[in-house]
């Protein structure tokens, strides 16, 4: 297990290096720079700025310097927001995205699994159809439409929630619902189909024959096995949801990291682009690792490669 994890950590490091390198050069290759705007700066001022931020130095110096400062977890100053460092931006934006993401994730997982289980237990009955119509809608309606719809119905028509902004708990409900809709529907479908498969297995019949109640069978035998595909999906999902969705953050005016990331690209805010990319990559790579480890815990049949028995 330990060897497996250390090997995985090594490959994470390698992926990270490749991501940094590719982003660094792609970013520089894109036309325009952090100081180009509608009103062109006098050349002297632009030169002065480029010198200050080290943009006039040869690329290999900038590149190696950058690698060194990343290793120290120092992403440098933002080019656009004077007086803020990229570390500031991440430290301020990430908790917001994380909180919203957790809320959405909880909603998506709990309601998704609930719906999926109900649908599977009532296969081909109205509960099944109802849940699946709901799920198809959830998957096919894009999140920005869902967001506007929620704003219109729950905020403007019913006055239950504020339309947008990030102030109190009630401000978080609509964006969390909008963010949760698609993954919830997806989880419901995943749970349903794998539940159906599991329920037709022999060991379920054995459990029934033993005289276990339907509740015991569902919870102890069926759900545990049916959840594997959900866990697989959970890794990338949590990375995506926790780092923030640009669309949702933009529509609801949420000061998260997702909107920061997209804005930094159109601003050509080099240090912010790099910093957030590195931060995201680390999150994504680690969440995939965690999922793989979680596999082994949920299903003892899956042995992590590199374990004792594998050799």
């Amino acid at each position: 297990m330990l060897r497996y994890i250390s090997r995985r950590l090594l490959s994470i490091l390698l992926s990270l290096f490749l991501i940094i390198t590719a982003t660094f050069f792609l970013m520089r290759a894109a036309p325009g720079g952090p100081f180009s705007g509608e009103k062109k700066l006098p050349p002297e001022i632009e030169k002065n700025l480029n010198e200050y931020y080290g943009l006039d130095r040869p690329w290999y110096e900038q590149y190696t310097d950058y690698l060194v400062s990343i290793a120290k977890w120092d992403f440098g100053p933002s080019f656009k927001y004077k007086g803020q460092t990229v570390n500031d931006l991440i430290n301020e934006g990430f908790p917001v995205s994380f909180f919203l993401g957790m809320e959405a994730l909880l909603l998506a997982v709990s309601l998704g699994i609930l719906l999926g289980v109900i649908a599977a237990l009532n296969h081909n009955k109205w509960q099944d159809y109802g849940a699946m119509i709901f799920a198809v809608l959830g998957i096919s309606v894009p999140s920005f439409i869902m967001a506007s719809l929620l704003q219109y119905v729950l905020a403007i028509k019913l006055g239950m929630f504020p339309v947008a902004r990030w102030e109190s708990l009630q401000h978080t409900v609509l964006p969390a619902l909008a963010l949760a809709a698609t993954p919830m529907a997806f989880i419901a479908r995943l749970t349903r189909s794998s539940m159906l498969e599991v329920l037709s297995n022999d060991y379920i019949r054995t459990a029934k024959a033993k005289g276990l109640s339907k509740g015991q069978i569902t919870v102890k035998h069926a759900i545990r096995n049916a959840l594997l595909p959900v866990v697989t999906y959970l890794g990338p999902l949590s990375a995506a949801v926790l780092t923030g969705s640009f669309v949702i953050e933009k529509i609801f005016g949420i000061p998260g990291l997702g909107s920061q990331f997209v804005l930094s690209i159109s601003n050509r805010d080099y240090t912010t682009i790099m910093g957030v990319t590195v931060f995201y990559s680390i999150l994504l790579l680690f969440s995939v690792l965690l999922v793989d480890i979680a596999y082994g815990l949920i299903d003892p049949r899956i042995k992590l490669a590199g374990g004792k028995k594998g050799e």
Partner: protein, 546 residues
């Protein structure tokens, strides 16, 4: 089975009660606000606006975007302020101008910073030199290049002592300019010319990064909260010299960067103002808002135009440029495409600066003349027929609004002149790079004035490599007129020189103007006294709720 179902329903019930409870409080709150608003006696003087994004910097010397300007204009105050379109004395009590119009002596009034320090002439001197100091990386330092040796100091060719701004004593500021600058009192209202509390700034160089005791300002409002990327809260500054005329007690500025959400928030009573100049309204909603009589429209100093790359054939031919410019139906574009009550432009300088430019230098949609010019132009290029003209490429930065205008013009040129047009769009930074490097044929651009003077628009085309010219056009007579106008002391004569220059520009047409910008917004009916300048700036000092 039934048991399980009822369990599910009760779960859902709990959830919905929870959701409803969350929302319920909110409703009560807003209902409370509404009843408060009905009582005429004490209308809460709290304004809620949206400023779209995080300001780049709230240091007057570092700010270089309109969002920062919107905030700074409320918290700081320059020597002058723009009211009713004219500069009025603000932090200055009086001023003298030397006969050659190059030396201004300002007498400051007794005013205080938010921490109680007096506002001194040294604060102005410090702030201007700070912005010009090359080590402070101010992108807007060039706004101060009008001051003697300002540019030289910024480029490292002169010392700070040589810069033409000097505090003669605590209350007297002497400014020496490079050239007579007839619009200098307009400039002193601009944020790069604001003072900075030199005592604080020297002690704490990071004073401007967050709200707090060190963030001192001298304007009608003080910043009490700055949650980055989320909101800014301003409160009335009780130490302000004119505090008795400031009625608003609080301004909340949220940063929601979505026009549809902004309008929804306004409709739901979460904002008192939606749209320009602080935020944006969704274009699609404009016709409906107009029909309901809610839309406010005001012209501003901005021109939307097409730039021709005058070094590329066929745009090196003036008659071809004329044909293209004359064959555009601007009225149709304004009425059917942009729908924001814009004014068709047949001149370069907006009517807010030259009122007679509502008419312009040529007729809108003059297809007959356009055809004549096209014929002449083709002959000069040695082409027999318009079909021999290779298709031209019209570039714009990716945006639905620009795309619609491009399609309309493509259609007009095809129908009126028989010219084939290809459309090409690119992301903003890529586009601006292409334009500045001359890698285009025809491209759209907008230009908004920084201060209220026609030179803002005309000087763009003074030098071929002027940085913002992009058209590669240069005309010696035009250039001379602009240079001479800078030294002319008589405002009437100066205006005539600028008009003559504009006439040359509109005869040679390196740019084809399309329309003059307007700003559109919706606001609470009982909000009065908001001061909007012709440049599209907002000042809330005199605003109040009735």
């Amino acid at each position: 089975m039934k048991k399980r179902l009822s369990l599910l329903f009760s779960l859902m019930l709990v959830l919905s009660v929870f959701l409803a409870a969350c929302g319920g409080f909110n409703k009560k709150e807003s209902a409370g606000e509404k009843t408060g608003g009905e009582k005429k006696a004490d209308v809460p003087q709290e304004l809620r606006v949206n400023i779209n994004t995080e300001p780049f910097s709230l240091h007057p010397g570092l700010a270089n975007d309109s969002t920062s300007g919107t905030v700074l204009r409320q918290t700081f105050e320059g020597l002058t302020v723009i009211k009713d379109g004219k500069p009025k004395l603000a932090a200055a009590e009086s001023y003298d101008v030397s006969d050659d119009l190059t030396t201004y002596t300002f007498k400051l009034r007794d005013a205080k910073w938010t921490n109680g320090d007096p506002v001194t002439a040294q604060d102005f001197e410090y702030a201007w030199k700070w912005a010009l100091d090359p080590k402070n990386q101010s992108q807007y330092a060039y706004q101060l290049y009008y001051i003697k040796n300002g540019q030289a100091f910024n480029e490292g060719k002169a010392k700070a002592e040589d810069v033409g701004v000097k505090a003669l004593d605590d209350k007297t500021l002497q400014v020496t300019l490079e050239n007579p600058t007839p619009y200098f009192l307009e400039l002193t209202a601009f944020y790069t010319y604001y003072p900075v509390n030199s005592k604080i700034a020297q002690k704490n160089p990071d004073w401007y990064k967050n709200a707090g005791p060190d963030y001192t300002s001298n304007g009608p409002f003080k910043m009490t909260t700055w949650e980055h990327n989320n909101k800014i809260v301003l409160e009335k500054n009780e130490t302000y010299w004119d505090a008795k005329n400031v009625k608003l007690t609080k301004i909340s500025m949220s940063m929601v960067n979505d026009p549809n959400t902004e309008l929804s928030m306004f409709n739901n009573g979460e904002l008192d103002w939606a749209g320009s100049p602080t935020g944006t309204l969704p274009t699609d909603a404009l016709p409906q808002l107009k029909q309901e009589g809610k839309l406010h429209v005001q012209p501003i100093a901005g021109t939307y135009w097409l730039k021709f790359n005058t070094e590329k054939a066929p745009f090196n031919n003036v008659n071809i440029r004329k044909a293209l410019a004359y064959a555009i139906d601007r009225k149709a574009i304004v009425e059917n495409v942009t729908k924001g009550e814009q004014v068709p432009a047949m001149a370069a300088v907006p009517p807010t600066m030259f009122p007679e430019n509502k008419e312009g230098y040529f007729k809108d949609n003059d297809v007959e003349k356009a055809k004549e010019y096209l014929k002449k132009g083709l002959e000069e290029l040695g082409l027999k027929d318009v079909k021999q003209l290779p298709p031209i490429t019209y570039s714009f930065n990716t945006s639905e609004a620009h795309a619609k205008i491009a399609q309309a013009i493509q259609d007009m040129w095809k129908k009126n002149l028989g010219i084939e047009v290809k459309l090409e769009n690119a992301e903003w930074n890529v586009y601006i790079d292409k334009l500045h490097s001359g890698d285009y044929q025809v491209g759209r651009m907008g230009w908004l004035g920084d201060f209220n003077d026609p030179i803002n628009f005309l000087e763009l085309f003074r030098d071929k490599k002027g940085g913002n010219n992009d058209t590669n056009w240069e005309n010696p007579k035009y250039k001379q007129l602009l240079i001479d106008s800078q030294k002319e002391k008589d405002p009437e004569k100066r205006k005539q020189m600028l008009k003559d220059a504009e006439a040359i520009l509109m005869d040679e047409l390196p740019v084809a103007p399309i329309y003059f910008y307007t700003q559109t917004w919706v606001q609470k009916d009982n909000l009065k006294g908001v001061e909007l300048s012709g440049l599209g700036d907002v000042q809330f000092k005199w605003a109040y709720f009735e």
